[in-house]
């Protein structure tokens, strides 16, 4: 396994020496060819994945799901139900793989931890004043400490989009490194909220910024804004992690989140991963789907493949 980002004394250390060197580096990244990027994402979306390949893709996708509930109305009961579903997504077919993780708010981490105990399913917690990220740094760090103390295996932080868009890259960088330090052994996913970054160039810059700061995962969105994960912005991030590993030897994961609801969509993303970053990323250690309703569609498609008849929403849980 490649060395982790935090311990990497890689070739790019001096670009983070000052605000201006960081800006020079990020603005020196090649511009994104918007038309080319979208055309590439669209053409990869036309691949036909059938029969055994489809069965493999569905099981892989299920094993990559971060089963998420991030509502103000989350109750311990709902989180427990979600945990049970993460461990056995389809109780009628025990051959169904478990999901990668459940993703909850920090105050639900302890409940979630109990629900998935002994199963290998991870507990991820959003933190740092999710989803807006508009709070003082100590508040954000306290949020993270809370989640880690409750037993979170993974932390999903949001960057300060206001600072990023204002061009204060070093502030964003310092925040990520501070959170990384507090996270300790927990893997850190950095959410850029691509729907608020306006341009593909910004998404590329944010990806590199996050990776330089020690992110274990780069994640597209919170799922709380209008535009979430799209094939194009995920493709862009996959290119970034591929190039980052080529330059530094450090492998970083990717997590598209929000708006992926159907098996067809999920399989398209897996094609993007395979064709862009490569097979090394086709594993739930390096690629995740942040989703809730996607799992039900994956299960219905799985039932269709195993039984030969179309399934319906009556045969999966209502979350």
């Amino acid at each position: 396994m490649p060395i982790t980002a935090s311990s990497a004394a890689h070739a790019l250390t001096d670009v983070t020496a000052s605000d201006s060197s960081l800006r020079r580096f990020l603005h020196g990244l090649p511009g994104v060819d918007t038309v080319g990027l979208e055309a590439r994402a669209a053409s990869l979306g036309t691949r036909s994945i059938k029969t055994t390949a489809k069965a493999y893709a569905i099981d892989l996708a299920i094993s990559m799901v971060d089963l998420t509930t991030l509502e103000g109305a989350d109750t311990p009961g709902k989180v427990r139900a979600l945990g049970a579903k993460a461990v056995h997504p389809d109780p009628t077919d025990r051959a169904t793989p478990a999901t990668a993780a459940v993703c909850v708010y920090p105050d639900m981490v302890a409940t979630a931890k109990e629900a998935v105990a002994g199963s290998g399913v991870k507990v991820a917690s959003v933190a740092t004043a999710f989803p807006a990220g508009r709070a003082a740094l100590d508040v954000k760090l306290a949020d993270v400490r809370d989640a880690v103390a409750a037993g979170a295996d993974e932390i999903d932080m949001v960057i300060d989009r206001g600072a990023f868009l204002a061009g204060r890259y070093l502030k964003v960088y310092d925040e990520i490194t501070a959170v990384k330090e507090v996270s300790g052994a927990a893997r850190l996913k950095v959410i850029f909220e691509t729907g608020e970054l306006s341009t593909y160039d910004n998404i590329r810059r944010a990806s590199w910024l996050g990776m330089l700061a020690g992110a274990d995962f780069v994640k597209t969105s919170t799922g709380k804004v209008a535009v979430n994960a799209t094939p194009a912005n995920t493709l862009l991030m996959l290119e970034a992690v591929r190039d980052f590993r080529a330059q530094t030897g450090v492998q970083v994961g990717v997590k598209p989140a929000g708006g992926i609801r159907t098996t067809k969509d999920a399989v398209k993303f897996l094609v993007l991963v395979n064709e862009t970053a490569g097979e090394d990323w086709l594993d739930n250690h390096w690629f995740r789907f942040g989703a809730s309703s996607l799992l039900n569609d994956l299960l219905m498609q799985r039932q269709k493949l195993t039984t030969g008849r179309y399934s319906g929403p009556d045969y999966v849980t209502v979350d």
Partner: protein, 314 residues
């Protein structure tokens, strides 16, 4: 499978083809499926030739695949909440509106039915008029069926006990093979009158009246997805529908004996309601069997409190 349409017409017989002596080239209609309120081609891209009763080519109709059937079920399920939640009065209005829309197109349908079934103009017109009346008949039933099959039940306790009919859900309908229009209307209208949504497989040999009916439904305030019409091989499309876990009932009116048996076995898997094929005189008043075939009964126990001396607490 998809042969090129032969550009031959029954010259001068009707206005579909170029009329004799005119230099104008007739505009042929591309018949398409009706799914979710839209008119898509078959996902498979296939079509088949539809001929009249004498074997003359009429048009190409889409040959729907199992994926079209799946999409139609998704559309019907999506429409179910709104349609079953609409008031019975409102559903009656919409069904009556269908009759209104049909009335203005009597001639078109009479011609299509005459072509499809080899009937005389007068006989075909009689079929179409009966079909229009059928819509009106079922429109009237929407807000009356609850009084007939529901009601208050006398129970041995201090409760109001009320039974009300509720729609079953998504109903797959195999339209009759012989009666391409009146038979079709006679199986669709009772299904949707009570709040079900339908996935209809039109008559395999004469699907054109069904596809034209879709144009009427689309302009009759009927929400998209309440009726979805597929054409093609009845056996091919019906098999996945009968096994589909999200279809709640199936009307086998258009299935032959062997096919009906096969479909009934597949339908048993998720306890679908099944209406077996039976000989029907479509011109006769239908009765309410087809309405009640796709209804569930919901019974509510409502406490009334202790009974007073008069036998009632009110």
């Amino acid at each position: 499978m998809s042969d090129k349409p032969k550009k031959t017409h029954k010259g001068g017989k009707d206005d579909r083809a170029e009329s004799a002596g005119s230099r104008r080239l007739g505009v042929l209609k591309t018949y398409k499926l009706y799914v979710g309120g839209k008119f898509p081609r078959s996902e498979s891209g296939r079509v088949y030739e539809v001929t009249d009763s004498k074997g003359t080519w009429l048009a190409n109709a889409p040959r729907a695949s199992r994926k079209d059937a799946r999409d139609a079920v998704v559309a019907a399920r999506k429409a179910f909440g709104g349609w079953s939640g609409a008031t019975a009065y409102n559903r009656g209005q919409v069904l009556y509106r269908v009759a209104e829309m049909l009335e203005g197109r009597t001639h078109q349908f009479a011609r299509e039915v005459a072509d499809a079934e080899g009937l005389s103009k007068a006989k075909a017109a009689e079929q179409v008029e009966a079909a229009i009346d059928r819509w009106v008949w079922y429109a009237g039933w929407t807000d009356k069926i609850a009084q007939v099959v529901g009601g208050g039940n006398p129970v041995a306790g201090p409760f109001f006990n009320l039974s009300t009919p509720e729609p079953t859900g998504v109903v797959a309908v195999l339209a009759p093979q012989e009666s391409s229009f009146l038979g079709l209307v006679s199986v669709i209208a009772p299904v949707i009158a009570t709040g079900n949504t339908a996935v209809v497989i039109a008559s395999e040999r004469s699907p054109l009246p069904a596809l034209s009916l879709a144009e009427v439904l689309a302009t009759s305030d009927l929400p998209g997805g309440v009726v979805n019409i597929l054409t093609g091989g009845t056996a091919e499309i019906a098999a996945p529908l009968a096994a589909h876990q999200d279809v709640n009932a199936i009307d086998l009116a258009g299935a032959g004996e062997a096919l009906a048996k096969e479909l009934e076995i597949a339908a048993a898997d998720n306890l679908k309601r099944v209406v077996r094929p039976q000989p029907v005189d479509h011109l006769a008043t239908p009765g309410i069997e087809r309405l009640t075939a796709f209804l569930e009964t919901k019974t509510v126990w409502h406490p009334t409190g202790a009974l007073g001396a008069s036998g009632s607490s009110y």
